[in-house]
Symmetry: C2
Subunit: 336 residues, 2 copies
């Protein structure tokens, strides 16, 4: 009796590793000092900064993965993950430096892995972020055949006096929204239950969406790096809220100082048709919709009242909506 | 009909979040600028370095998790993960700055999560590393009840001219070993198959091990940060190899320059009893044992011939074994 550890197909593993290395290298600038295959990724701290602060975030794609698997689409979840992470550090004023990914599966499928990494590399490239390393794990006893999980870590940088933390936000400030293009990466557990109970089908074309339901649900989480950078060139941004799980009502309070709240005016931005479809098909009440979904708002931008008129109407192709105001309050966000 | 997204028990989630935040904060020094609960973790780049390079690594615990779950022990896998990551960047000369974790489960079990994070925080503390953030994901459709996965990212730092990459290694250099204390985190898929076929039991006390098999298999992956730092105070380290999956024969070649190979002399260090037990119970041939397991060697240290006599006999409580030499060759490691 002879064993080969974990039954890994070595040729397949090497094939996947080579594909990953090739895709990753396309995202590297001169600040990347090592090659994947070494023990760790090397990245030079950018020069010429006075007091650099590293901002990092780790995240997963969540149950959007299960929709992707059902639809057989694997590259967009990689983009979702990177863009989500980019937004998570962007809200503190940081620009991305590098990204590492973790892919775990019951069985290594080199083609599937290559598609996931293609998406990661594409989004890293778009966000000027180096895909510097990662781990691909095969764990047959933990994941069922065909199942996989995907997580990633982003590390970015910002000058200490450029950190955005919302602390200067005050009643009277103006709130702007950058539009989402769909669910991004939140609310998929609810959507999966709605699909199941209402017998909607992923491959069914829905007139109101102009696409199939599957295509709509897998639209890539938008990165707001370029749009926010463009706005920051015109005005001072006091606070940014990435609208993820918990929606506007739970994410905006995270940056509101004591003694403030917010009023968000419905009708000032377009709620995407997919949210109307989910609410109707699942009989989900509006308050719940706002707690689970982004409802068409991917990022909120808070600026001082005196700057409100200077905020551009469009930023890097996205319409910038004036959606509400900071008000005196106890941290509650009222959507009215 | 009303939905609550993903069926997450909010009280339980909050309970887990508070426990994580409390444990994590105990690992923070003054360079940590933010609190968990914000969007991303802030960490000041250490001052006074000439040309700092960030070294990062992402890893999982692999199928050691399944042994831990079977034994109902959850804190040690957190330590395994951190120590493994510390070693992975240590081999490039880096000391750890901060760590982020990813825990995904079918169902959030606050007590289990708290135990995992207790282990993460303990190891972070021991390695002077800040547990700066992480993600806890509940994905009932992906993980079975009771199943969970654990991954993490470490970011460390080194002066550019202090990077250890093995490039100065030459034939004639001396190779030293720091002992492992067991399997660390590799070879568990094979071990699980051996256990299954040979009907060994995790809770059975094994005389040769002086413990139960479960206790032996869950010994915490050793961090070599302090021992390697101590050796580096005495001699110039030319290369370090963390002995993980692939064993000595596949990990040492990763740092050997062209034209060199290595001879490792069996009998110069103690092979732990657990490896003899696995080989016997599973009828695993020796060559295979050396490709799957660390065989008692956790870290290899390469120094110039002229420094060999200066390497201390013990470092931070660990015996330092002289185990072989760098020889002219094609990258092959011969264990003779």
């Amino acid at each position: 009796m002879r064993y080969r550890d974990s039954g890994v197909d070595i040729d397949k593993a090497n094939q996947a590793t080579r594909a990953i290395a090739r895709l990753a290298k396309e995202t590297w600038g001169p600040e990347v000092l090592s090659e994947i295959g070494h023990f760790g990724g090397l990245f030079e701290v950018p020069k010429g900064m006075r007091n650099p602060v590293l901002v990092s975030s780790m995240d997963g794609v969540g149950t959007k993965l299960l929709i992707a698997r059902e639809a057989g689409v694997f590259d967009t979840v990689g983009q979702d993950l990177v863009n989500h992470c980019v937004n998570d550090i962007l809200v503190q004023g940081a620009r991305p430096l590098f990204f590492l990914d973790y892919v775990a599966a019951g069985k290594l499928e080199p083609e599937m892995i290559a598609r996931v990494v293609t998406g990661l590399a594409k989004a890293c490239h778009e966000n000027r972020c180096a895909l510097i390393g990662g781990e691909t794990a095969e764990m047959p006893g933990l994941y069922q055949h065909g199942d996989f999980d995907l997580a990633g870590t982003i590390v970015g940088i910002v000058e200490r006096d450029g950190v955005i933390d919302g602390s200067s936000i005050a009643a009277g400030d103006a709130i702007f929204a950058l539009p989402s293009n769909g669910l991004h990466t939140n609310g998929y557990s609810l959507v999966r239950r709605v699909i199941e109970k209402s017998q909607l089908k992923l491959d069914e074309r829905v007139e109101a969406l102009g696409s199939t339901l599957g295509e709509e649900l897998l639209r890539v989480h938008r990165s707001y790096l370029d749009a926010v950078t463009a706005i920051a060139r015109t005005v001072t941004i006091k606070g940014l809220a990435h609208i993820t799980g918990g929606g506007i009502v739970e994410n905006l309070p995270r940056i509101l100082p004591d003694g403030t709240g917010a009023r968000i005016d419905k009708g000032t931005w377009p709620v995407l048709p997919i949210f109307e479809l989910i609410a109707r098909a699942g009989d989900v009440v509006e308050g719940e919709m706002y707690r689970v979904f982004n409802m068409g708002v991917g990022m909120l931008v808070v600026v001082g009242a005196q700057d409100a008129a200077k905020v551009p109407e469009r930023a890097e192709g996205l319409t910038v909506y004036r959606v509400g105001d900071v008000v005196p309050g106890d941290g509650t966000v009222h959507v009215v």
